[in-house]
Amino acid sequence: MAEAHRRSGIRGDEAAAGWLFVAPAVLILGLFLVLPIGMALWVSVSGWNGQGSPFAPGVPYVGAQNYASLFVEDGLTRENFMISIRNNLYYVAVAVPAQTLLALALALVVNQRFLKGTSFFRTAFYFPSVTSSVAISVVFLFLFANSGAVNALLAAFGISGPAWFADPRGLLHLLLGGLGLVDVANPPAALTGGGPFGLSWWEWLAGPSVAMSTIIMLVVWTTSGTFMLIFLAALQDVPVQVEEASLIDGANAWQRLRHVTLPMLKPALFLVVTLGLIGTWQVFDQIYVMSQGKPANTTLTPAYLSYRTAFSDFEYGVGAAISFVLFLIIVVMTLLQRWIMRDRDEPRPRRRWWPRRGSTS
């Protein structure tokens, strides 16, 4: 009896202490992460211009107007938004595969048991990931400057490098032009005539600009180290026996990689791709420091555009609306990725685990 009484007393203390312990965290996260989302939702359907409070009586409700200006109304807002979406799509399409493959390759090499001193190299590859994005952007500004290190290196091979940050030419345009398929100076009327969302097909097909490609290189360079660590953790889980067995079976290095190692890395691969997709839609710091969307809007991304629209053009409603569209894009990307991941990977462990659980209950 006494024992039970004491217990309930402790439980009561515990509940009070529990709330007390989580209160600061809940308060701060609620106040600065959850509540603001609600406020921004209101601003995204309002015509607030940054003067006074967005909740003052005079601020007009404009319904879906801000969203409409991004998708259906012909105008500069939609043009800029669609250009930013195009830029970011190409950015994702190049950066995600590049950083994933580079990270995987680095992890496979660093994981080789016959190589000594790999921990030094692991550290070296990971180091750029922990440095400040702003500081690194400054370094890359210098590397890719007109008289910078990259052009000096290219010059050593007899190549005269472009004026990286001033070059708005799309790589896909350059490729098509280089192959002689189209005349870049005078693109075919079929492509320039029209296209979805107020942007001509020709513009949609520009590819990442030369300027954007420097930012892609920077991001691939800074993120592959982290992703390499994720692959390394997964590689260390591959049982040695499995590798030895395949060695005895006479599999060569490529066959081992293709049929033994890679299938076991699948969960890590999907994790890296998901994180990559989430991260690449959020690129902001590098754009702010290196290009501010220039040249000719070819490094404009939705994240930077939302910031610029709100804080430079004082169209907070449109800026907030862009944020929510971006949010939606990232959520959809994540869900899509999870869905693909579930489809391919979960059936196997499930088949193994369900019967066991069923038999114990």
Binding site: R11, D13, E14, A15, A17, G18, F21, V22, P24, A25, V26, I28, L29, G30, F32, L33, L35, P36, I37, M39, A40, P54, L106, F114, T118, F120, F121, A124, F125, Y126, F127, P128, V130, T131, S132, V134, A135, I136, S137, V138, V139, F142, L143, A145, S147, A149, W221, I230, A233, L275, W281, F284, A303, S306, Y307, A320, S323, F324, L326, F327
Partner: protein, 285 residues
Amino acid sequence: MTPPGRARGFRALLGTFLGYAVLVFFALVFLYPFVIQTANSFKTEADAAAHPLSPVPDPFTTAAFTKIFDSTAFPLWIGNSILVTLLITVGRVFLDSLAGYALARLSFRGRGAITAMIVAVMAVPGVVLLIPKFLVLNQLGIYNTYTALVLPLLVDAAGVFIMRQFFLSVPPSLEEAARMDGAGVFRTYWSIILPMARPALITLTILSFQASWNEFPHTVVAVQSPELFTLPRGIANLVSGSLGAGTQYPLKLGAALLATIPVAIIFVIFQRYFVRGAAEGASKE
């Protein structure tokens, strides 16, 4: 199928050689930019423009650093960065571990809901929150203050989650004994739990330090007065603002170098905690 001994020996040698070739090549790709950065910050502007690739300044000069300290607000930015980083790191280590402990160990009504909220908040992409954060800071009347720089970052959901996972992995016997001896919840937490949680706390300290020292987007929406700039914000302004109009690469590279050094030192000393942090950050997904 098996190649004769000598051929196999040759292939192993070739493999080793190729392996090192790849490692050294990428070590150069990942580290040489930092060498270039360091070397060029000790060059004259003309030398930096003429020989950007060279790791040797000729002539060697500290003019860029003198200029950084004399004609930019760099000392102020450092002061602000140290203050903000210190406050955020202490706040995160204390509040994250407190909440993480409660969510792992104490039973109270609403614990499940709060855990779910923490996980949901972690999934919200930071960049999407820029305008929303500004709105709430503005509404609370703390926009453009030190409070705005620090308070919203005092707790981070990922840190709470890391601590919760850690406490879940620790057997509860020790604290139960302490509680049976009549120690209160907070006392148990402070003198039994926290000392035990040292490795997790070090990881959290390092992650918080690195994150708050490097934090940039938050400062963009929290403050606008140059007196409140931290290092990343100050350097970003130096580069993209009016001061950045000329090239002045030694100056910019030097400023960026100085901002990188503290994290680099911490990284070299506490490497394994960074690696653990990366692994834990990944496992939360």
